[in-house]
Subunit: 245 residues, 2 copies
DNA sequence: GGCGTTTCTCAGGAAATTCACAGGCTGGGC
DNA sequence: GCCCAGCCTGTGAATTTCCTGAGAAACGCC
């Protein structure tokens, strides 16, 4: 089930019409808060736990639709936490947070089911998208939300990562894809370069703000080439996407 | 929920019909005062805190709908304050105030979800607009306010920054946009050049007062061209906007 | 380890915007 | 009808903002 909020953003709802519930299990307060705030803003109900014991308690009481689990925790490792979570709630999908070098072999074993993972440092856009995907596939929301975003004759499939303009398939790199997705999830809304940077680039990105300009430029070459432009610059304010003409 | 005040200004109200509450956290007394006065005049309830400890206390008692947070504070840096605020009130949206050059290092990673920031020196119009946006999207006011302002056949969308007159789209620069927004938020009310300067230009603007005349002139060329004029001069008093005829 | 791809920095140039200045215009008091 | 403060607006220059090519560095895939 999806609902269009007054601001025009699409919200994810559960079968009973209540907001989706997410449990965040992470001992780094800063990260945990960053995620909480972001997910709340997505319209979800969030609860967070700082260690494994708390997580198990929370999953029992809170009955989340999905769990974000940092695999490095102070009192138990992620695997034990996972095991105990699963004992409580076998079907709940889990999004693992992991360091880049804490290689894929371990994670691969964990994510065998419907689970997924992102590596630190991640972008908020990525976490939100993965979570949406997990929840969508888990069937927590009764009416399946579409994975297809569209603005005018431009479409973007969040599952297959396929992008088309006027039926024509377009190849995008990972960053280009995330930028376009963020724009398309906020059509007709001006997004500042700072907002884009905070959302699409990873939280520890320390580079120049003009990467945003650069990637907008890349996108335009691929998206708006030969067509009426959909990506618009609002000088001094930011960028927005809207149907051509 | 919006209400039209007796003077014709639109006010923002919370679900319970009470005014919106804003907490200002800033150690520069002058700036803090300026903001307080401005926000009170907007019809909001304002409380201010000069340091982090006070801020934490205030957020606990006052339960603000939004926080304005200067990231440079005497006793704690903005990040710690933010963290402690969030522990008290996880969902409260924050508007960060920051120096222009400090932007790129630290702010990334702070702004999550609905948060936003403005760089010093800012214009009051900008701060108010951002705050309104933050509160509007956070859901503090039960009936969400529209992002669309309209006076006669003139409309201004604060989200898309789109302006139309009689259905015809009009391109405005950033300053023109802010000036028009200020006028349109105060329809049928005479605004003096001094008021406009104080509100639309940044607080450290040191230029000639006749920029206001200049920008009114620009606006007229774009807004009132060929139509019955909506922007009127009250000689010796100021300007006002009202529907044509 | 090599090679193509992707990400990002840097810097030059183009374009839009902001603003000062100054001369012209106007309304209203006399 | 005259005058002047107050207002309007054309011109142009400084500044800001944005766009984009070139190339270095990092990454990922055999």
């Amino acid at each position: 089930m999806t609902a269009i909020s007054p601001q025009g953003r699409t919200e994810m709802l559960r079968a009973d019409g209540k907001p989706v519930r997410v449990l965040i299990v992470d001992d780094e307060a800063a990260l945990s808060e960053l995620l909480s705030m972001t997910l709340r803003y997505e319209g979800w109900e969030v609860r967070s736990a700082g260690d494994g014991a708390e997580a198990v308690r929370a999953v029992r009481e809170f009955r989340p639709d999905a769990v974000v689990l940092d695999v490095v925790l102070p009192d138990m490792d992620g695997i034990s936490v996972l095991r105990r979570l699963r004992r409580e709630e076998p079907a709940v999908p889990v999004l693992f947070l992991t360091a880049r070098d804490a290689v894929e072999d371990r994670i691969a074993g964990l994510t065998a089911g419907g689970d997924d993972y992102v590596t630190k440092p991640f972008s908020l856009e990525e976490v939100v998208a993965r979570l949406r995907g997990l929840i969508r596939r888990s069937g927590a929301s009764s009416v399946r939300t579409e994975s297809l975003l569209s603005v005018g004759d431009l479409t973007l499939d969040e599952d297959s990562h396929e992008v088309t303009r006027a039926g024509r398939s377009i190849h995008l790199t990972a960053t280009e894809f995330e930028l376009l997705r963020y724009l398309m999830r906020n059509p007709r809304r001006v997004l500042s370069k700072a907002q884009i940077l905070d959302r699409v680039w990873s939280y520890d990105f320390g580079g120049q703000a003009n990467v945003v300009e650069l990637y907008v430029s890349y996108l335009r070459k691929k998206i708006d080439a030969g067509c009426s432009p959909m990506i618009h610059t609002r000088r001094g304010a930011g960028y927005l996407i809207k149907p051509g003409e």
